[in-house]
């Protein structure tokens, strides 16, 4: 690449950041609208080919939000809030620890962070009903959910990693034996810090402003919530839908088969199954819980979900347009840094994931480099968890949906692009997880790859 190419790429990157900046300042669908303008400029001014809008993620949001909104219209969210509040009665703040681990588990079982959309409203409502700053539970859970990808046997990123480390004798079980304990350890300090992060709702200026202006109603004490007659039934249907997704996510053999690209058949992807199960759950709630379709569309969850979808549409489209046209240069740049300074490999994995917003791309490009640099495969697996860096910029669907769901205004996408609510838990979590993974790889797996040289005599 010439200097001019690098200059143009930097300029395009600055434009992307500028429009994310404008979008987060505008808030709500503003994020999507400014993302659309950014895409327009990248295509018309710089001649870039338009990237792919995140159609799958958008459709999943529609399906999941339809089910969650139907459950809310049937009073199911109130019931879940009551149950969760009752379970957490002695220690409501335990939500800050429980929610991230539940989100993490959900991703492990389904192999996609998109299932986290289904519990965002529940976490938010439970936190608010217990007067817990929703940001604490929501931001930590978003990060834990993204981290779950590296612990999932059915995730695409894991499938990308596996052939690379199998060469060095690490199979799927070995990978999970490193990533799962490391992640469980890594989530803990994150949840601990998040449980103390930010002001309590009573002292939060933005929340108090919203409360005073009537934008948000004061939290109803869980004990005083009057349940609708079909609340429990709607929760049962919703949870059945989620359980079905988990079962079909984990056991590929149960899925219907489709024609494979290279001939033969293969199990259907989990993405359309999530959409089918969630839409079906929503339909069953309408049918069996006597909910009117119009009530679903006018529920707060539906509104915030649709706003999140539009926001994701524009911002992710702009990001993909930039990335699709510059991915190789980004990888070359960061790969070059790691090649010259191998100790930077974990940071390079994080940075590639952040700049390409793709865990699979970061895996595909940076793990082979780390292995070629002579870093043990066990250690590379530990550092691979840094692909959670996809949350570095506020352009991910779960981040946008979480910020939109939190009506108290504590969960934000920031004012200066990187100062969003998810940054603190992200930084704590990825560093702690990578360190824990390295220790696990060292203690229990050793380093079977490059042994110490027998002789190190320089060749004349």
């Amino acid at each position: 690449m010439t200097s001019m190419d690098w200059f143009l790429m930097a300029l395009q990157g600055l434009i992307v950041i500028f429009f994310i900046f404008l979008g987060v300042r505008a808030g709500g669908i503003g994020l999507g609208l400014w993302g659309g303008v950014g895409t327009l400029i990248l295509v018309f001014l710089f001649g870039l080919e338009p990237g792919e809008p995140p159609v799958s993620a958008m459709l999943i949001i529609i399906a999941v939000i339809s089910a969650a909104a139907a459950m809310q219209a049937a009073g199911g969210i109130d019931y879940m809030v009551q149950i969760a509040s009752s379970a957490l009665r002695a220690r409501p703040k335990a939500l800050n620890f429980v929610a991230p681990y539940v989100s993490y588990l959900l991703t492990i079982l389904t192999g996609t962070g998109n299932t986290f959309f289904s519990i965002i409203p529940v976490i938010n409502e439970v936190a608010y009903a217990n007067k817990i700053r929703p940001e604490r539970a929501l931001a930590g859970s978003s990060v834990a959910s993204a981290l779950g990808i590296t612990s999932s046997p059915v995730a695409a990123a894991t499938a990308t990693l596996l052939p690379l480390v199998e060469v060095y004798g690490y199979d799927l079980i070995d990978v999970l034996l490193i990533t799962i304990p490391a992640s469980i350890i890594g989530i803990l300090p994150m949840a601990f810090i998040m449980a103390r992060h930010g002001k309590d709702l009573d002292d939060d200026v933005e929340y108090q402003r919203r409360l005073a202006s009537g934008e948000v109603s004061p939290p109803a004490p869980p004990a005083e919530i009057v349940l609708s007659p079909f609340a429990k039934r709607s929760v049962a249907i919703f949870l059945l839908g989620v359980a079905a997704i988990c079962v079909f996510g984990l056991f590929e053999g149960l899925r219907p088969t489709v024609e494979a690209e290279g001939g033969g058949v293969e199990p259907m992807s989990i993405t359309p199954l999530i959409q089918m199960f969630m839409l079906s759950a929503a339909a069953l709630i309408l049918l069996l819980c006597h909910v009117k379709a119009n009530d679903v569309a006018s529920s707060p969850i539906f509104r915030s979900g649709m706003v999140a979808m539009i926001a994701l549409f524009g911002i992710a489209w702009m990001a993909d347009t930039f990335i699709a046209n510059n991915e190789d240069a980004i990888v070359e740049l960061l790969g070059g840094i790691a090649e010259n300074f191998p100790f930077m490999i974990a940071v390079a994995i994080f940075a590639v994931a952040a700049l390409t917003t793709s865990q699979s791309a970061a895996t595909r490009t940076m793990v082979p480099l780390g292995l070629a640099l002579g870093i043990g495969a066990g250690y590379m697996i530990a550092m691979w968890t840094a692909v959670v860096g996809v949350l570095f910029l506020p352009a991910n669907g779960t981040q946008i949906a979480a910020a939109e769901a939190d009506t108290t205004g504590t969960t934000t996408l920031g004012k200066r692009v990187v100062d969003h609510s998810f940054q603190l838990p992200l930084q704590v979590c990825w560093i702690a997880t990578a360190l824990a993974g390295i220790v696990i790889a060292w203690l229990f797996f050793g380093d079977p790859a490059p042994a110490a040289p027998v002789t190190t005599t320089p060749v004349p």
Partner: protein
Amino acid sequence: MRSGWLVAAGIAAGLVVLLGVVALIGGDDDRGETVSAQEWADNVCGTVLVWRGEMESIVDGVRSAGGSGTSGSESGAESPQGESGSVRTGLEQALLATETMVEGVSRAGIPDTPNGQDAADGLSGWADGAVDEIERAQDALGEETDSTSDELEQLADGVGTIVEVYASGGQAVADASVEDPELLTALAQSATCENLKEEASS
């Protein structure tokens, strides 16, 4: 405010610890140094195996993109332009993967056997040649063509280069060691090299 600074300092300290730990565990660079034949065999076979895995996925990607274009789909690869995009991307990815492999082969050092230097040079020569081949194919793909048939020929050459370079990977390690019985023994005793042999013959 104070706790905010404390957390920031904690994160910075954690990052420094992580960098320090990675510096301790990582980066085994034996470039230009002699190493045991066994270590050399393990390292180069591992590097070439990882590279083969990457190339296999690139070849699959290019082939499936070539056949998955659907009419009316803007992003489909049915047209020469669409297929050109997927071949170009494939070549870029192949170049990146091969450059990584070259780095791995260089870092593996020189086996401490009578013909170790020749074996290391032979393998490096093949790896560098693979990079040159891919770069040549990239340049050819960038040239203007007079007709669609010329463009299709260019594409076929591009795909052919990726496949040829990929196919040569398994044999290259064996060829480099053929005149060195000690190295051949090391290759035979290396589980990674056995894997490579099986992969290459399948």
